[in-house]
């Protein structure tokens, strides 16, 4: 911060990578290929580069994981949560390169876990259509992660914009935005999801819209409170005196200064969104077959209430629980660390 007067100290590579800009670049490098792979799979496959897209994401994920572990050393809760989350992210970016069976190819229905057929071993068995459970479970995390992250990100962009406007500019804008968000918040969340998805039709993009409608009001309230609290600080007055544009003050001055609580909330909300997507898919309102997805796996097996086939329900349930547990523990650890500082 005082770099302008002192000669810039030489930073090691790790320290350089830990600066916000490098972290943002790395996270984008991790997320964007994954989003492109899942959402725009068709055009990419036609261009013949579908798998190649994911290659830069693998080292980015590993570097981010190493950085996260080294800076979260003080909180074992955050370490545990981060490990769970990064495990699934790593699976998501590397699953096309893993030696797995085709997740959509029926081979032999109702094979128990550990069955050997010829030279293939079904470690986790097969589902009622004969598709390999292990490969379906690992492939399934891709769609959940991609749609969960996208939906949360869009909800955050919308929520932050309205929250900053309502908090910083306030006046009539605050009244209007607050009333609209009160109307949306008075719906029970599930009712809102069901109504929007039923109206727009079930698909990944519509889940993004539904999640935005359901989460943005709550995010807006948080950001609005933070903006109200921060707009009387000296640095904002200084910026106003310099004659900065309100838009610049909101995005460049206010937003980075309130990032702490927002990041913790984002972690929690990623968990909620993932639960919501899985639940909606289970209810038949979310992602559509045949591609593997945890919610779909539960839905397909949910009428099969027999003890010996219960692995079909247990595997996706445990997978989704471990991911959500990871998000929640990570949020808990981050909050703990931010309180300590």
């Amino acid at each position: 911060m005082t770099d302008s007067t002192m000669p810039a100290p030489r930073l090691t590579l790790v320290q350089r990578l830990k600066r916000p800009k490098a972290l943002i670049v790395l996270s984008l490098l991790m997320v964007i290929p994954l989003i492109a792979y899942v959402m725009f799979g068709e055009p990419l496959a036609r261009a013949g580069i579908r798998e190649i897209v994911l290659i830069p994401a693998i080292p980015a994920t590993l570097i981010l994981y190493a950085l996260a572990m080294s800076s979260w050393r003080e909180s074992w809760v955050a370490i545990l949560g981060g490990t769970l989350v990064f495990f699934w992210v790593f699976v998501a970016v590397s699953v096309p390169f893993l030696p797995l069976l085709d997740p959509n190819k029926p081979i032999r229905p109702f094979a128990q876990p550990g069955t050997e057929v010829g030279d293939i071993t079904f470690w986790l068995g097969t589902d009622l259509k004969g598709r390999d459970m292990l490969s379906r479970m690992l492939w399934g995390c891709q769609r959940v992660l991609v749609w969960g992250v996208t939906a949360t990100a869009v909800a955050y962009v919308v929520g932050c914009i309205f929250g900053l406007v309502a908090g910083y500019i306030s006046g009539i804008w605050d009244e209007i935005i607050s009333f609209v968000s009160n109307v949306l918040l008075s719906f029970p969340v599930m009712v809102l999801f069901i109504l929007i998805l039923n109206y727009l039709g079930p698909s990944g993009f519509n889940i993004v819209i539904a999640v935005t409608f359901a989460s943005a009001p709550a995010i807006m309230r948080i950001v609005r409170g933070l903006a109200l609290d921060n707009k009387t600080r000296d640095y904002v007055f200084a910026a106003q005196t310099r004659g900065e544009h309100p838009f610049r003050i909101m995005v460049v001055e206010l937003l980075p200064n309130v990032r702490g609580p927002i990041i913790v909330d984002a972690c929690l909300r990623l968990g909620y969104t993932t639960v919501a997507i899985t639940t909606l898919t289970f209810l038949g309102l979310g992602l559509q077959p045949p591609d593997p997805d945890w919610g779909l796996m539960i839905k397909e097996a949910s009428n099969l209430m027999v003890w010996q086939f219960s692995y079909m329900l247990l595997i996706p349930a445990l997978a989704v629980s471990s991911l959500i547990l990871g998000f929640n523990l990570m949020a808990d650890g981050l909050r703990e660390m931010s309180l300590r500082d």
Binding site: P188, I194, L313
Partner: protein, 316 residues
């Protein structure tokens, strides 16, 4: 205080009016009318229908009237206590919804009956000594149980208790009349999912009270520890959890959808999903109004109760 309640109720009526108008306009689209036709008559007969037949069908259902007229009619009926008629069940909405609300009410009663004592005891035990072993273990259990989504909790419980041990039925459709054993799994699922959140809130509130001056004074005066907790600490520590518990009412109404669908329990949440998939406007309208009503009412109760329990707070 009365002014505050009146303002909140007025706001609620306003929100209900906006919400119901939006719903009416949304469900007036051609797509939804077609959806109702397909759901009732089947896809083939709708495809084979001429335009005239379709118009006749719309007329027989009363769907050919412009949307504002239908809305006015509906509001008029509502004021006389008439919620309209369900397209799917061909019965008055109030009857369809009444049965389902009763079922969900019984479910909610048992959830609260188990969840409140459990979470309060755990939260207080954890908050009594911040950072102790009991505190850490309760906090970890709470994070763990709330992190497992309801659908996963439902699956784990079904597989272990119903399929593995065979103690209770796996489904709760109540096909052979009312059966209390079928209520156990849905109630357990909801309690397990929700208790962690309330326990953590209680813990935070208790921990805060335990650091306050008057508790230290009480301890230093030599009052027995149990008496300090029971008489002095609890009174103030239970104010915040009260608010949280009342607000759980709102959560329950929407959180119950997936549990009811999974266990095939004929409650409010399952009705809502079925109605939304069928395009049954009047049922959705009534259900949404009930949901909004419960949401606002629980907010008012928690606010009023909070000022009542904690007279230091004043609403301006």
């Amino acid at each position: 205080m009365l002014k505050l309640i009146a303002r909140r109720l007025l706001q609620m009526v306003l929100i209900m009016a906006v919400v119901s108008l939006i719903l009416f306009v949304v469900f007036d689209s051609d797509k939804f009318k077609k959806q109702i036709a397909v759901a009732e008559l089947g896809g083939f007969s709708v495809a084979a229908m001429t335009d005239d037949d379709y118009q006749k069908w719309l007329k027989s259902k009363g769907l050919d009237v412009p949307v504002y007229e239908r809305y006015a009619q509906w509001v008029g009926g509502l004021l006389q206590g008439d919620f309209g008629k369900s397209f799917e069940k061909n019965a008055p909405v109030s009857k369809v919804m009444g049965d389902r609300l009763l079922n969900t009410g019984i479910l909610a009663f048992w959830v609260f009956f188990l969840m409140i004592p459990l979470s309060l005891v755990f939260g207080i035990v954890a908050g009594m000594k911040e950072g102790s072993f009991q505190d850490r273990s309760v906090s970890f259990i709470a994070v763990f149980t709330t992190s497992i989504p309801e659908i996963a909790t439902a699956i784990l419980l079904t597989v272990i208790v119903a399929l593995g041990l065979g103690w209770v039925p796996a489904k709760s459709a109540m096909t052979g009349g009312w059966n209390s054993a079928e209520l156990i799994l849905p109630v357990l699922t909801l309690v397990l999912y929700d208790f962690g959140y309330v326990a953590r809130m209680t813990r935070a509130s208790m921990a805060e009270v335990m650091t306050s001056q008057y508790i230290r004074t009480a301890v230093l005066k030599g009052i027995p520890y149990a008496r300090v907790i029971m008489r002095h600490a609890l009174r103030n520590a239970l104010i915040a959890p009260f608010t949280v518990i009342v607000l759980q009412l709102n959560w329950l109404l929407s959180g119950v959808v997936v549990v009811e669908v999974f266990f095939q329990f004929n409650g409010f949440g399952k009705m809502l999903l079925e109605a939304a998939l069928f395009g049954d406007v009047y049922v959705i309208q009534a259900a949404t109004l009930v949901a909004v009503f419960v949401a606002v009412l629980s907010q008012i109760i928690s606010d009023v109760g909070y000022t009542f329990l904690n007279p230091r707070i004043r609403f301006s």
